[in-house]
Point group: C2
Chain length 139, copies 2
């Protein structure tokens, strides 16, 4: 079951309607191989209104079906979420992300919170650099 069907089913379960524009957005997101900007989506969906694209992205993000990745310059990309908690390696060359999980890293973070008498409710870790493909190409 692809993302489109899965997300669609999930939406219906919660009481949202399955509409043509909504499914079009889901398909476009699934088709996007790399992280995308809202602008990318808008461009690939000329027949869907801006508002609908924004509203759908917001919805999916709230449902954790889409993850939002802040870049260093302050811009934001979205990417299909694999679901669980994870972190990102963001390539400055090609802009792609790789997700990874690291329990030890998370444990260390938890410990820092404890050390500061801080109730940890969430955290974000982003690594920036060059991926294997881009490192050689001077990208």
């Amino acid at each position: 079951m692809g993302f489109t069907e899965l997300a669609n089913a999930r939406l219906e379960t919660i009481g949202f309607r399955s509409t043509a524009p909504r499914r079009a957005v889901l398909r476009a997101i699934e088709a996007a191989g790399a992280p995308f900007t809202v602008e990318d989506l808008l461009a690939s969906l000329p027949d869907v209104g801006r508002a609908t694209v924004f509203r759908t992205i917001k919805l999916l993000h709230e449902l954790d079906l889409l993850c939002r990745v802040p870049l260093e310059d302050g811009s934001v990309r979205y990417q299909l979420s694999e679901g669980g908690h994870h972190h990102h390696l963001v390539c400055r060359g090609c802009g792609r992300f790789t997700e990874f999980t690291d329990l030890e890293l998370d444990a260390r973070i938890q410990e820092q919170a404890r050390a500061h008498d801080f109730i940890l409710e969430g955290h974000a870790v982003e690594l920036y650099g060059l991926c294997r493909e881009c490192r050689g190409q001077g990208a």
Copy 2:
């Protein structure tokens, strides 16, 4: 030596001019006890033009005198930078940040990069939760 003098000296050294509006922005930043938004600064500096405030913030950020912290909702705060590399504990209650450094955490991050054949050039870690003051107040 306070931030204002330090930053001012630093600016002059690099060839920027010490002007009244610039110093006013520096003073306002130093006076801000907590992280601030650009809007906060603008409000506290009614006699300095918007453009100048934005331009000065940008300048200070580029010089690493100011650090930019992305909140979960996508908004951005600034805070006087203590200089070196560090991470943040961001309180969802009062909005204040605490900076911390953790070599072990950084090492773990470096290792993840290595494991993914990724040239690490930078990273960001943000912890979200409740600080000690806010945890009891249901804030």
